[in-house]
Subunit: 426 residues, 2 copies
């Protein structure tokens, strides 16, 4: 088996044990990139020699080694890197080289990671799509805005990648590409050096091919507990709420079936599963999300709009105009709704450990001009709660389906623990 | 009178009416800078020719004009500017020129403002002081970390300036320099392009010489209502809570006297004034603030610490070490305390419009090595509520005292309205 197919945990363990060099691992990833990238277009910047030089430096290093020592990671191109160009998915920033690494990149490097390259993103992590194709079916979108990170991990080009989510930009591409995606609670991953879209929602998320790899990266970034450190794996079966949300009818019948079937399978495996309904107030959070996102995004890229408007896509122009037209009072009202929603959500839980709910309306749609609908992501992003996408089942187009595991705010370790329990049983 | 002494509102009105050119106004400010800067050192970067070129472009402009057309503003040097170096108060960034303007700078320019230059800041808006001196007594600190912005406005070098507050970095220097300072609610001024210190608290704030000027700038930045637009000036007398906080004994006797005397004067002018006590839980927010600030700051500057540690001050190294030593669980617990505090604070209000409380422990202390104590600022920053400093009275060293007006979260217009009522009567 090519080392490119190893999990991050296995690769790190083999490197630590001297059974694998970082150079061999990175070379295997680069070989996969060489083979597949002309079709998939996951990378906005990748310099093989620079990546190998980082890997050789890891192999030469003496002294204590970090938890990601020698392990390559992809970085969404809305996150700054001091040694690689960072274009935010926009022609305005073509060739731009930031002065500093973003905090999350620096923390990954401090743990020994090799930054393999920058992954494609929709323009300013918004809606104008990247050129990336779904590695499982290149005529289909990989989802967005973290298109390249999802595709690169799904296609075994890299075991880990960083993305972001403001609406559904981590969970949806994870779903469309069939990998594990994680949008942490607010305040888990420092955002210094992230190009802001809507600061009330922008969250740095991760892509991997297992929950254990996600948990490793989360530990590196935040210091939160790793899974298994405290016998969590052997915990009793979780109490799961099946949450259809007010938008259940927008999910395809095959998506609804896969969620119901996952619920049955988990119940059969010993989980307590019950239906959970959200109050009608949560439905209003869709509108509040749109108002806050558009209001803030229109201000965050005020310079780009004023000085380089000719280089923005028509779709971005439309978003800017919509955002600038929102009266401050409406934005304030939406902030109040969001705050109430966060307080009300605490009452949903009772004895439950996690909710399960769709990650997307269906498998990845055909075509590259649209990255899909965030209808099953927005309110969780607004609530600031942890979300994990787990692949499960296949749709009629042969593309992956799956479910979203949603936890309590700041209950990330418990959520990942339940997600791993679910992953093991699906 | 020199145009440098005009308020922003007056200057904008005169420019609009053709009674004053932006060039004449900017030249007057530059003359003041020439005269005073060798002693005060408020500016980290100022190019007179570039400022005059902006002013002349305003004077030549045809078509509709923004609310700040031709009015100069100073920008704290932790806020990015595309046409001026931005050093974040650190030798690491000497000569660094960002690619883009921060959102707040671009919004000011869109309203016609002239960016006069960059104002001195403590290293990464933390504690290692800038070289700035208090314009009222150059052997005394101007406060920090927004040292240059406070000093420049106080010294009539510029009518408006942008600062930031993570602990007390806007309100305290405003107090020490005797100008009006405003730390808005969270989410009022977009933070894209701000160098983060602690993202849970970092707030862009303003300096001016009147509440009306603060309100004008707040309207430009957020679209929030301007004062007087809806007859607010003639509102009935406010209901004011005198809030000594648990740290009252840390205020000097002259500071305590000035607050009590302000309360009496306002009551005599018709305000309802009552004592308001905070529950003991609020005292714990001081510790929660320190934990969150240090944890986040240590991650926000991870790159600087790892790559350029030799260029950080010893004080910053100490903060980094303290922040990196905080376990994630402690940070999480502090976030929960902050969240509870925000909910509990809603119960303090009853029928009150605003609180008044000290802005600082005393007048500006002697010496430049320490920017003063944020003990009367931290919990309001953590709560995310609007704060306005108003100068009132003079201490034994001949330096200004004053009071802080604190409002409800997102109640910024009401708070500024009350602050103006109070300003008029003090």
């Amino acid at each position: 088996m090519s080392p490119a197919r190893l999990s991050a945990n296995s690769a790190a363990a083999k490197i630590k044990a001297g059974e694998l060099s970082s150079e061999a691992l990175v070379q295997a990833c680069l070989d996969r990139v060489s083979e597949r990238e002309p079709e998939i277009r996951a990378w906005s910047w990748l310099d093989a020699d620079a990546a190998l030089a980082q890997a050789r430096a890891c192999d030469r290093a003496v002294g204590p080694k970090g938890l990601l020592h020698g392990v390559p990671i992809g970085v969404k191109d809305v996150i700054d890197t001091a040694d690689m160009p960072t274009a935010y998915g926009s022609a305005i920033y073509k060739g731009y080289r930031p002065r500093a690494d973003a905090a999350c990149v620096s923390l990954a490097r401090a743990a020994g990671a090799v930054i393999l390259g920058k992954t494609e993103t929709a323009e300013f992590a918004s809606i104008h799509p990247a050129a990336t194709r779904n590695p499982l079916a290149p005529a289909h979108t990989p989802g967005g805005s973290s298109s390249g990170s999802a595709a690169a991990v799904a296609d075994f080009m890299v075991p880990l990648a960083l993305g972001t989510q403001t609406g559904g930009s981590t969970i949806r591409p994870a779903a469309f590409c069939g990998v594990v995606g994680y949008k942490p609670s607010f305040n888990r991953v420092n955002r210094a050096g992230l190009k802001f879209s809507a600061e009330s929602f922008d969250t740095i998320g991760f892509f991997a091919r297992s929950v254990d790899d996600i948990a490793l990266l989360a530990h590196v970034m935040s210091g939160q507990e790793r899974l298994g450190d405290a016998g969590l794996r052997e915990d009793k079966a979780p109490r799961i709420g099946l949450c259809r949300t007010s938008r259940w009818s927008q999910a395809s019948s095959q998506m609804r079936e896969v969620i119901e079937s996952a619920a049955q399978k988990l119940a059969a495996a010993g989980a307590d599963v019950e239906l959970v309904a959200l109050t009608p107030a949560f439905e209003q959070l869709h509108e509040a999300h749109a108002v806050i996102m558009q209001y803030e995004a229109a201000r965050a890229t005020a310079w780009e709009y004023r000085v380089h408007g000719d280089l923005l896509s028509p779709a971005y122009h439309q978003r800017m105009r919509a955002g600038l037209a929102i009266p401050h009072e409406r934005y304030e009202a939406a902030l109040r709704q969001a705050e109430s929603g966060r307080q009300d959500f605490a009452d949903v839980w009772g004895e439950l450990d996690v909710l399960i709910t769709p990650s997307a309306v269906d498998e990845a749609p055909l075509g590259l001009e649209n990255t899909g609908d965030a209808v099953f992501n927005r309110i969780w992003t607004l609530l600031g709660v942890p979300c994990v996408h787990l692949p499960f089942g296949t749709g009629t187009a042969g593309l992956p389906l799956g479910l979203q595991v949603v936890g309590r705010r700041q209950g990330d370790v418990a959520t990942l623990t339940c997600a791993r329990w679910i992953e093991d049983r699906l």
